[in-house]
Structure formats: structure tokens, C-alpha cells
Amino acid sequence: MIKADRIVTTTCPYCGVGCALNLHLKQDVVYKVTSPFDSPANRGNLCVKGRFGYDFIHAKDRLSRPMIRRDGELVSATWEEALGYAAGRLLEIREQYGADSIGFLVSAKCTNEENYLLQKAARGLIGTNNVDHCARL
């Protein structure tokens, strides 16, 4: 029997039911998932995705460095370069074509706090209401 190093309670990343999860971790790998029986949305029930759908966290093709397109190719860059470039280009385009020439897509997969901050950047820094996400889809 594997014994977990830690069990962390969190929320399922798949559908809108919002089942509570207990992630069982061993050496920083999620090896098993259960659900607390007193969880308000799902009372301990989980579907097949919530219980078994976690290999993606450890997938080999997870992105591990920023990239910038140079001469048509995406090549590795430092965070400093990538964020500096992104900020610079957004501001250039804003100056040249106006704030409403920029659009922001927030995410139905990201947290509330992340979504809040990205729309804050769009509205409060760039000055556009072109903010949406793919939830209609």
C-alpha cells in the first residue's frame, strides 16, 4: 500500500458541478483522487474524469519556458524577454490603433482571481471592454 505524503482538498478542474477532491500525493505525484463525504456540491461522489483525469498535470509536453516568435519560429526566451516584449507590443498597438484594437480572452478554466486581474488589466490599464471568454461555446 502506498501511503500518501500529503492529501490536499481542492476543487475539480473539469465541469461546473464543482466537486470537492482530495488529491493524494506521493513524491509530488497525484497518484489517487477521492472526495470528502461532507462536500456540499457532490457529497463524496465523483465521475470518471474527476477521479482519473489527472495525468495531464504530469504530462511531458507541459510548457516549461516562455517562447517568442523570431523569424517565423517560436524559440525559447527568458521571462524577462517574454513579458517585456508582450507589454511593449500591447502598448505599441494601443498607441497606433487605439485601445479597442486589442482583445482579451479570459478563461473558464482559470481561477476567479486570475480572471479578475486579466479583465482589470484590459479595462484599467489598456482601457478596453473587449473582454470575453469561450463559455458560450
Partner: protein, 545 residues
């Protein structure tokens, strides 16, 4: 949802339409089945396909695709004709009743049968079962909203609930089942072109002023609502949109008419993608910023019943990647500083530099709570014990499991008179089949997560094209044969699966598989108000390959 997952088992009648709940919201379907099996609740299912819930349904209505409003108007007609409407509720809590009476007066069950193909006595029976219930809850998902008249569909459902007083009590209400884990939250947080957090409108000057001041914003928030995703894509082709910043989305797989989306994205002068994989969209980006998975971050998701719940970090951040919150704050800080350096470049600049320095996600939430009346009472500390459902206006408030108890947000509930309209693209001689798209249990959305999970991909490794048995026989196609499905916009080739569960004339595909992209076929007809694409009705033809 106006009501909660917890009170599903208290409903006497469940009306489920446009939701394959078993596959898309599995744990909610468990509650529905429990209500039927254990408490004898009656399930009215409106769905052209014989989905798993059909095994539990007292009545299964199978309309021609896109004729929902006809059925629902006819149900209202019967409820009125037979005098089973809740007169007291109508008198004290609703308005515009006369307009509804007028609008449905000619929508007889016989008329609805002619339009939808559903036997009129089944419609009458459904209206009686729903109308006589002590408490009846309505549930729907994308089958109702992904339509060129999605808003009409939703209003037609709300009319039924208003007519019968099914609001503000346990086991009732109108309950949209939100697709992705945090769609609810993305909307609540102002991830929409017309509202900031908690649905505070950008057209309201006081609202804009409040945020500009709190954010120490160097620019003015425009008073005019912005563009939706669908309009942004058109905007790029029209030359109006020049840059996109995309976080955690893959419009190349999820948007309608992929060919058109690709053309648009390639036209951009600049695109930044923040994601955990180099998905189809990120491959076209100018900058790719690697974020982290839910297991490496801290924050909150809001589920379909408005419950804000904690996401707790379980793993260290993947080496080389950064937390999404840190990425946005860093970017915000950089943009803010540059604006500060040359404020003159910004007409209407009102403050020099904004503050993008937060200690953690909990501090970000505190800012949200302070600016959002419906969430002021929620804090990460309070969420430690199982989450809270907004509205939650103060720190003592227990949250709101059932909305509209004494009154509606706008005061009275308003009936909406509706006229049935045909879908934008019905089948015809050249494209005789109707394509319907949806989800299956084992996979999720564009498949980015589920298809990397060995177990799930082993159970369902590839996409299929489902067609009806009799249609297959007529076309000389067997299960496993390669077929080509084409619409006016594009074509895909894949393996056929014959099934008795689809009505004749329907083709069903999921959008989980990049190699069999259903959205190459779908059109970009959208609902005029909600701008949701019509994914459930596209005319297609089938050929053997």
C-alpha cells in the same frame, strides 16, 4: 442556477432539456436519478436523442432540432387553457402576463406537433405533469443556449416557471448547468464585454468611477460595451482588432467555423497565449507564457450553483513555468510602469501608476469582495469550510442557496412573449442531415486535459461520427466505415458509428478530438443577443470514402 444541487432531490418534477446530464454533468445526474428512484419524482426529458436519462424519464419528448420554443409555448398554452397556472404568484410577483397570454394563444399542441413532430398528446401530458407539480425544477445546458435563438429558449423556460410559481422555493427554479468548471466565475469576475465584477454594468458611470478610483487606473474605462469572442474574430478580419491576449483558451478548437478562426488569428499583428500546453491556438502566437495547472495554484472556482470554492496548491510550480496570477501581475506592473513613464501618450490619463503587487490570491479576492456588493461577505478564510453561494453581502451572511425567495432581482418577474423561429440552417436537398455536437463522459472540451490522461484516452481513444441505423443502411455504411461529413464551411472524415439512439436525419459528433474537429463544420450563425453560436443545428451531407 437559481437553486442548489442539494435541493434537486426535493423536486416533484424535473424538466431536463438540452442537457445530456449524465455525460456533461455526471454528479448532478446522480442527484436527478436519486430523485426519480428514491423519491418518485417525475422526469420530463426534452431531447431528440435517446440519452441515458431517457431510461429514467416519465415522458420523453423528441422534437426536431431547434423547435424548442414551439414545444414550450404550447406547454404554456395548455397550462393556461386548463387553468393550472398559479394565479396568486402571477398576480403578486410577475408582470406582462397579458402579453404572454396573447403570444401563446395560437400555440396549440396541434400546431406544435406540426412544427416539431412531437405528438400533441405528449405535449399536453408534459404540461399537466409540470403544471400540477408541487415543486418543479427546470435544468438545461448548451442544447438550449447554443442556438441562433438561445435567449428565446431560455425565456420560454422561464415563462413556464413563472406561470406555475416555480421560483424561490426548494426543488424548483430555472437551472442552467454551466459547462466548464469556472464559467460561472469567469462571468462573475467581469470576463464579459458589458459588465465588471458581479454584473455591474460598464454603461453605469458610478460603477466605472468606482473601479477607476480603486484601481488607480491610468485610463478611463470606456462606457460602451466591448466585443464578444465571435465579434472579435470578425473584427480581426475587418482590420479593427490587431492584437489578442488569450489566457487558458483554445479558440482554434472550440470556436465555430475553425477555418475562419485560423484565418483571423493569422491576420493579427500580435497574439500572446498564456497556457500550460502549446495548443493549436498557442502555436500561432507571438509570445507563449507557460502558466500552471489547477493543482499548482491557489484561488477560487465558482460552480454552477454560484458556490465559490477554494482551489488549494497541492504541487510545487512546474519548473520554468509561473503561476498565472504572477504572470498577469508582472505584466500589469510592466504596462503600468511604462504608462507612468510617458503618461502623455495616453489621452485621458487620470492616475500615474497602478498597483499590481498582491501578496497572494486571497489579497486579490479581498479587492474583488470590496468592489462587488454581492460578494462582499466572502473571503478565503470563510471558504475553508465548504464554500459559499453568492449573493453574500456581509461577513455574517450564510450565502444564498435559493434565489428570488421574496422577490426577483428586478422586483417583479417579467413574462416574455415569444414567437417561434426556425434555426438559421435547416437541412435541404443538398445537405440533408442535421449535425448536432456535444460532449461525452470520458473527455472534456478540446481534450487538452482528458486526452493526456491515459485511462480516459484508453477507454475512448478516437472521435466517431454517429448516425442513425436506418440512415446508415440507406447509405450503405456500417459501423467502422470511413465517412466524410461536409457542410457549407468544411469537411471532416472519420469512422461511422450506427446507433438507434439518434433520430433519423441526425449526425452527432463531439468536439473533443483535434483530428476530427466538428467545428470545421459548424456555422457562425449566433443568437442576436447572447452571441452564442448555433452548434446544435448545421446542415451537412454524408459520403462514403
Amino acid at each position: 442556477m437559481t437553486n442548489s444541487i442539494r435541493d434537486i432531490h426535493l423536486a416533484d418534477v424535473l424538466l431536463v432539456t438540452g442537457s445530456n446530464t449524465t455525460e456533461a454533468h455526471p454528479v448532478i445526474s446522480l442527484e436527478m436519478k436519486k430523485a426519480v428512484r428514491k423519491r418518485g419524482a417525475k422526469l420530463i426529458l426534452i431531447d431528440p436523442r435517446e440519452i441515458e436519462l431517457a431510461n429514467f424519464a416519465a415522458l420523453h419528448i423528441r422534437p426536431r432540432s431547434g423547435t424548442d420554443v414551439a414545444i414550450l409555448n404550447a406547454m404554456a398554452n395548455v397550462i393556461l387553457a386548463e387553468g393550472i397556472a398559479d394565479k396568486e404568484f402571477i398576480a403578486t410577483r410577475t408582470e406582462n402576463y397579458e402579453a404572454l397570454v396573447e403570444a401563446v394563444k395560437d400555440c396549440t399542441p396541434q400546431w406544435a406537433e406540426d412544427v416539431s413532430g412531437v405528438p400533441s398528446d405528449l405535449i399536453v401530458e408534459a404540461a399537466r405533469v409540470y403544471g400540477h407539480a408541487g415543486s418543479a425544477a427546470i435544468f438545461w445546458a448548451m442544447g438550449i443556449t447554443q442556438s441562433s435563438h438561445g435567449v428565446d429558449n431560455v425565456q420560454a423556460l422561464a415563462n413556464l416557471a413563472l406561470l406555475t410559481g416555480n421560483f424561490g422555493k426548494p426543488g424548483s427554479g430555472v437551472n442552467p448547468l454551466r459547462g466548464q468548471n469556472n464559467v460561472q466565475g469567469a462571468c462573475d469576475m467581469g470576463g464579459l464585454p458589458n459588465v465588471i465584477t458581479g454584473y455591474q454594468s460598464v454603461t453605469d458611470e458610478a460603477v466605472r468611477g468606482k473601479f477607476e478610483t480603486a484601481w488607480r487606473s491610468p485610463v478611463k474605462i470606456p462606457a460602451k460595451p466591448g466585443l464578444t469572442v465571435t465579434d472579435m474574430m470578425h473584427g480581426i478580419l475587418d482590420g479593427k482588432i490587431k492584437a489578442l491576449y488569450i489566457m487558458g483558451e483554445n479558440p482554434m478548437l472550440s470556436d465555430p467555423n475553425i477555418n475562419h478562426v485560423k484565418q483571423a488569428l493569422e491576420r493579427l499583428e500580435f497574439m500572446a497565449c498564456q497556457d500550460i500546453f502549446l495548443n493549436e491556438t498557442a502555436q500561432l502566437a507571438d509570445v507563449v507564457l507557460p502558466g500552471v495547472s489547477f493543482a499548482e495554484k491557489e484561488g477560487t472556482f465558482t460552480n454552477t450553483e454560484r458556490r465559490v470554492q477554494l482551489v488549494r496548491p497541492a504541487l510545487p510550480v512546474k519548473q520554468g513555468a509561473r503561476r498565472d496570477l504572477d504572470i498577469i501581475c508582472d505584466l500589469g506592473q510592466r504596462i503600468g510602469e511604462r504608462i507612468g513613464e510617458r503618461t502623455s501618450g495616453f489621452a485621458g490619463a487620470i492616475h500615474p501608476v497602478t498597483n499590481w503587487d498582491y501578496d497572494n490570491a486571497s489579497a486579490v479576492w479581498d479587492e474583488i469582495a470590496a468592489l462587488t456588493p454581492s460578494m462582499t461577505g466572502i473571503s478565503h478564510a470563510r471558504l475553508e469550510h465548504g464554500g459559499l453561494q453568492w449573493p453574500c453581502p456581509n461577513a455574517e451572511h450564510p450565502g444564498t442557496p435559493i434565489l428570488h425567495r421574496e422577490k426577483f432581482t428586478r422586483g417583479l418577474g417579467r413574462f416574455t412573449p415569444l414567437t417561434f423561429r426556425e434555426p438559421m440552417e435547416n437541412p435541404d436537398a443538398e445537405y440533408p442531415f442535421t449535425l448536432n455536437t456535444g460532449r461525452i463522459l470520458q473527455h472534456w472540451h478540446g481534450g487538452t486535459m482528458s486526452r493526456r490522461s491515459e485511462g480516459l484516452d484508453w477507454v475512448v481513444p478516437e472521435g466517431e461520427i454517429q448516425i442513425n441505423d436506418a440512415d446508415g443502411a440507406q447509405l450503405g455504411v456500417k459501423t467502422g466505415d470511413l465517412i466524410r461529413v461536409s457542410s457549407r464551411r468544411g469537411a471532416v472524415t472519420g469512422k461511422a458509428r450506427l446507433t438507434g439512439k439518434l433520430p433519423r436525419g441526425m449526425v452527432f459528433m463531439t468536439f473533443h478530438f483535434a483530428e476530427l474537429p466538428a467545428n470545421r463544420l459548424t456555422g457562425d450563425a449566433v443568437d442576436p443577443v447572447a452571441k452564442i453560436p448555433e452548434y446544435k443545428v448545421s446542415a451537412v451531407k454524408i459520403e462514403r470514402v
